[in-house]
Amino acid sequence: MTLEERLNLVKRENEILLNMGPQHPSTHGVIRFIVRADGEIMVEALPVVGYLHRGIEKLAEQTPYTGFIPYTDRVDYLAAMFANHAYVMGVEKLLGIEVPKRAEYLRVIACELNRIASHLIALGSMAMDIGAFTPFLHGIRERELINDITEMLCGARLTYNYMRVGGVSKDIDDRIIKKINDFLDRFLPGFIDEFNRLITNNEILVKRCVNIATVSADEAINFGLVGPNLRASGVKWDLRKNMPYSVYPELKFEVPVGEGFRGEVGDSYDRFVVRVKEMEESARILKQAVSQLPEGEILAKVPKRIKPPKGEVYSAVESARGELGYYIISDGTENPYRVKIRTGSFSAMKAIHIKSQGCFIADLVVLIASMDIVAPEIDR
């Protein structure tokens, strides 16, 4: 069945077909929606993905284990650290390597910085899709400070390639720690409160998001939603708490859950607020991690050519967009036999398709933004 046949199958009279994307201001990259609308009200928004499909899973089969780390950056360009972390953790499990404590802390620091940066973009672009420009640029401004830190930490601002099998590539120094502390001082009470005053509590935004595309807890689980989208529906599930990895058990933090802050549990506004609260928690984790940073090695003893024994592994981390997992099959050679990447945005797209039915066209924009999808994560 082709796309055209699918559309002809369901098309009714008095409907207009709107082609939203792949080049549209609010589809966040190259995602296409075919909107079947009756006036302003949609019948459904059919997602058409694949415009950014680069076959990363196929590339993995032809690339050595270490050489694939830069590719993982490209899976989710807004939160590349998590992709690094999940993949590297998987290979370490296959090899059975113990990672030094300091390296684990550095990974946590890098990841949580990245989570804040990613959420800033998500919240800002959601505000921008609703029509407020200023919060987006305020978010970008703070993210720029994080980018400066990651640039000092690993030499790149977007595609980090920071983690290695067995540790991390560069050590942290006092200047970077000072910069992180400066950023946290500015961020935690100051920026978040101001951001809330500027946009989160804004009545227009609240009215635009409340009770729009409500996903109940059962639906969220069945749709396969993960991360902040799942937690906004009231399911308290965070891989950092429930299936602890790295040094997260040693750090104290809360898992924010959607409580129906202004409307029903699991609406778009809950997804917005949960992300704001997650940024606060990340900043708290960062404060602890920076102060507890142990001394020691940053890279374990790893053979120069990585040849894991035969076996399979599934390693997942809690990324900014939810569970990001790498299912790796090793056949004992230098290249992985098969890599499957499980991403949060992929399942969110199906939820968007279902939840778009009966919304306004303007609500579709809110729905897409509140699910925080990133195009390369869907297509890979």
Binding site: T63, G67, F68, T134, D148, A156, S169, V206
Partner: protein, 192 residues
């Protein structure tokens, strides 16, 4: 919708708009965070942090010809040719800067820090072939590593090599070095 709800809506809107406008007005009185790009280009380079992964450069005098970088590169950006014979000569060291993704794996693999990143990042040219940087003009003897050398010994300071700077003028169709290699060594071209 009850009447109190109606009034609460009006109050919420007025209060939240008032607060939002206070925030935006307070930012009217602050200094912008952006740097004026065309005005302060030199400053821009200083703003790049130490350890930035820019264009790759090669200090050929330090190269041991071990091919570690070529093997590590996941996308095949580096091409090194070493002549075989009684005495080894490096006859070719090319980097395709157009294809490079700046992952930095080659710099970590290099035992002598001969290949490294510069801070250079802006390099648009009118022909993609000009972005292939040739580092070897004449066959070079490989560097013999010192026993107790650490990578820091070799990295005197990060400089932008002449080849990176003058890439526009430097572009010539690549030819194998014409200088005869002593001791019966052969370049790849002569072999064919």
């Amino acid at each position: 919708m009850s009447f109190t709800n109606y009034l609460a809506n009006i109050r919420n809107s007025v209060v939240s708009i008032f607060e939002g406008m206070a925030v935006t007005f307070s930012w009217m009185l602050r200094r912008p965070h952006t740097v004026q790009y065309p005005d302060k280009v030199d400053k821009g380079h200083e703003l790049i942090k130490e350890g930035f992964r820019g264009i790759l450069e090669v200090d050929v005098s330090l190269c041991t010809g071990c091919l570690a970088c070529q093997r590590t590169c996941p996308i095949g950006v580096i091409l090194v040719e070493v002549s075989k014979g009684t005495e080894r000569y490096i006859t070719r060291f090319d980097i395709d800067a157009a294809k490079c993704m700046y992952c930095g794996l080659c710099t970590e693999a290099c035992p002598t820090n001969a290949i490294r990143h510069t801070k250079e990042f802006a390099y648009s040219v009118d022909d993609i072939r000009k972005l292939v940087l040739h580092y070897i003009k004449e066959p070079v003897k490989p560097y013999k590593p010192v026993k107790d050398a650490t990578p820091d010994n070799f990295n005197a300071g990060r400089f932008v090599s002449e080849i990176v700077k003058n890439r526009e003028k430097e572009y010539v169709e690549y030819e194998a070095p014409s200088v005869k290699i002593p001791d019966g060594g052969q370049t790849e071209k002569e072999k064919n």
